[in-house]
């Protein structure tokens, strides 16, 4: 019987095949003559990566085909691997590619519109100013880094394509203000905070304040701040003011805030929680602390949540929250977590083996039943002797649940000896809701019977991968032969640190790249801690 896809005219077949990535487009050429012909003649290839290393491959594979977009970096050859660039719409070139290497391609791409040529990776410094102005001044630029640039001149006449701006040390606030104001499509600003330089707070504040950037002038919704080693991390309440004002003035549209390598010293979290409380637009927050320099060794006093702060934090509404938990912050997190009504993703990284009491999220689970789709938590073994998965069963669209046992006493060890103080898990079957794709339980105690039942229940609904680690030998023996027959890839000992990595490892191992893989991970006894 003729397949339904054969009813599609060539034009529509091409449209469908266009959705495949380049690799799959070439792969499906072996399906039948019609597909091969359409891919050879009519389907266009996007995002072809051209480097010195890929040159030969690009020449053979894409040289004669219809290429729609090319990205070039690490390329020094002065010839083009393409014989036909009539369909080229976008040519994205690293600024580090020599001009003569680009010329051959540009000569052929005579139908490329000026707006189709975009440069990225531009590094603007005092010493590169002349060269940047000359070569890229009139070009479209998608990303640039500014570092040690004391001039106030803006070398770019066109900032419409600028999507990403990385601000390093010693940058003129005047220039920054111009960039923030004129880059109307800016999506992401990254700031690296260095020791001895003007702080990102002061920089943003000054450029906003001095240049009177009107609210909504800067369109970027994402701000990433990385605190480099050596940055003076002393954040006291006096500094909260400038941060807050800096964002209000310079980046009033910020909705996603990422703090990386964040250090908290004497006033644990006070500034960051106040900042969070004063930014009602924020929907995504990620706070990752600096490894190996934790305040626990500095005998921090717990953060006291005053009535004022309590009221402010109770107003915070996020859709995505990723954080590293410190016991000193428990009061503030408790308020934030219990106030959420639209949270979609909750992720807690572990740091120095600190996990939390699962009871802290119970109010959240009752308020976000319609929205929570992904939960990744580190559980403290001392505070949780038993986890009843039924508490997650009413989450209507839960797709991924990862729970891992942390025990601060066991940081240097990989095993919990003799399963002492290992929390148990109950009601595993209750968690198998319609939408659950990934379930990862690591470091818990559960019965083989529960595991087998879970596998059987889920295998009927298209389970792809089961990973039971080293311990369930009896399961391995009994299922080793039967699982593949049931269509399940049995991934024993893939040694991932999370369900996510199990998924990646499985895809790699079995050459699968499905849109989603249904996966179960049961790792009893072993507790993995990420290397610091």
């Amino acid at each position: 019987m003729e397949g339904a896809i054969e009813k599609l005219p060539n034009e529509m077949l091409c449209l469908v095949l266009d959705y495949l990535d380049n690799k799959d487009k070439l792969h499906v050429m072996s399906v039948c003559k019609r597909w091969k012909e359409q891919i050879d003649k009519n389907v266009r290839f996007s995002n072809v990566i051209l480097t010195d290393e890929t040159y030969e491959f690009v020449r053979k594979t894409f040289g004669h085909r219809r290429v729609k977009s090319i990205r070039i970096y690490d390329y020094s050859k002065t010839e083009s691997p393409f014989t036909n660039l009539d369909f080229l719409e976008t040519l994205t070139v690293s600024a580090l590619v020599p001009e003569n290497a680009l010329t051959a391609i540009l000569t052929m791409a005579n139908k490329l519109k000026p707006e189709g040529l975009i440069f990225y990776d531009i590094i603007l410094k005092d010493k590169t100013y002349e060269a940047v102005t000359k070569r890229f001044g009139h070009c479209r630029v998608s990303s640039m880094s500014i570092n040690n640039y004391s001039r106030t001149e803006n070398p770019f006449t066109n900032l419409e394509s600028l999507r990403e701006l990385n601000i390093g040390e010693c940058v003129s606030d005047n220039l920054l203000a111009v960039l923030l104001r004129n880059a109307v499509n800016l999506q992401k600003v990254s700031v690296a905070a260095h020791h001895g330089c003007i702080t990102p707070t002061e920089l943003l504040h000054q450029c906003g304040n001095h240049q009177r950037i009107s609210p909504a002038a800067c369109s970027a919704k994402r701000l990433e701040v990385t605190f480099d080693e050596g940055y003076d991390p002393y954040w006291n309440p006096r500094r909260f003011g400038p941060w807050n004002a800096a964002l209000d003035y310079a980046m009033p549209n910020v909705e996603e805030l990422y703090f990386k390598s964040f250090v908290i010293y004497d006033h644990p979290g006070l500034d960051i929680f106040w900042l969070l409380a004063s930014k009602p637009r924020l929907c995504t927050l990620e706070i990752l602390l600096r490894k190996g320099d934790m305040p626990s060794s500095r005998e921090l006093q717990p953060l006291v949540v005053t009535n004022e702060m309590n009221s402010a934090l109770a107003q915070v509404r996020l859709t995505s929250l990723t954080f590293e938990f410190l016991n000193e912050h428990v009061g503030a997190w408790e308020v934030i977590l219990s106030s959420q009504t639209h949270l979609r993703e909750l992720k807690m990284h572990d740091i120095n083996g600190i996990g939390f009491n699962i009871s802290i999220i119970l109010p959240l689970l009752t308020k976000c039943t319609d929205t929570l789709s992904s939960i990744d938590l580190k559980i403290d073994a001392k505070l949780n002797s038993k986890i009843d998965l039924q508490i997650f069963s009413h989450l209507k669209i839960l797709e991924s649940l990862e729970l891992e046992v942390c025990d601060s006493r066991m940081v240097s060890s990989k095993k919990l000896p003799n399963r002492v103080n290992v929390p148990t898990v109950e009601n595993i079957s209750k968690i198998f809701t319609k939408h659950l794709v990934c379930l990862g339980l690591r470091g818990f105690e559960f019965s083989e019977e529960d595991v087998i039942n879970s596998i059987i229940i889920e295998s009927k609904r298209g389970l792809d991968v089961v990973d039971v680690g080293n311990d369930f030998l009896s399961i391995w023996k009994s299922f080793k032969s039967s699982l593949p027959k049931m269509g399940i890839e049995y991934c024993r000992n893939v040694e991932p640190s999370s369900v996510h990595y199990t998924c990646i490892a499985s895809r790699k191992k079995y050459n699968r790249n499905r849109f989603s893989m249904k996966i179960l991970v049961f790792r009893p006894k072993f507790v993995y801690f990420k290397a610091h």
Binding site: M1, E2, G3, A4, I5, E6, K7, L8, M12, L15, V16, D18, Y19, L20, D21, K23, D24, L26, H27, V28, M29, S30, V31, C32, K33, R34, K36, S46, N47, F57, T61, K68, S69, E89, I397, H435, R507, N511, R512, N513, R514, F515
Partner: protein
């Protein structure tokens, strides 16, 4: 509320609001053409879609109804953006909507979405087909789409060899 009568190729009539209908590029154009050519501004437009049968037209209208408050995607949106929308915009409702459909219906929906210029529906249906291809072996794809190899001699092997990198890498 201004209404429009949309009639399928097999004669079934669907009465929908003009606001909803105008989320289809094709229906929007037809309504505007009708308005320009009609003397009676109160007259109800009637649009015949001769290429789409009732079952499929009902599905398209059902999808439009569900997404009536979404921003309208431009038909000429570039591919990368389009893909992003397909992924980002595919709600649980969309997944449930597509789940029970066999490939024959999906193909008809693709044709209908293209004809009626409903970019969002076209995106998610194409994405569904793409998900049935990605990561599969050639034999699995042939089975899924009921296709037979029509290569002669060593043509298939030759094609495989030319593109062997895509399996190896």
């Amino acid at each position: 509320m201004a209404l429009v009568r949309v009639i399928s190729s097999d004669g079934a009539a669907f009465l929908v609001s003009q606001r909803l209908a105008k989320r289809s590029g094709k229906l929007k154009t037809e309504i505007e053409t009708f308005r320009k050519s009609s003397d009676n501004s109160e007259a109800q437009p009637e649009i015949r879609i001769v290429t789409i049968r009732a079952e499929i037209l009902r599905l398209v209208l059902q999808w439009l109804q569900q997404h009536q408050n979404d921003p309208v995607l431009p038909a000429n949106q570039n591919e990368q953006d389009g893909r992003g929308d397909a992924e980002m915009g595919q709600s649980q409702w969309d997944r449930d909507f597509l789940a029970p459909m066999d490939l024959g219906i999906v193909m008809e929906l693709i044709l209908a979405a293209n004809h009626l210029e409903v970019k969002g529906l076209l995106d998610i249906t194409c994405k569904l087909v793409e998900s049935k291809i990605t990561g599969r072996t050639v034999d699995e794809i042939r089975t899924a789409f009921k296709l037979k190899s029509d290569f002669k001699g060593n043509e298939e092997e030759q094609t495989r060899l030319e593109n062997r990198w895509c399996v190896e890498n």
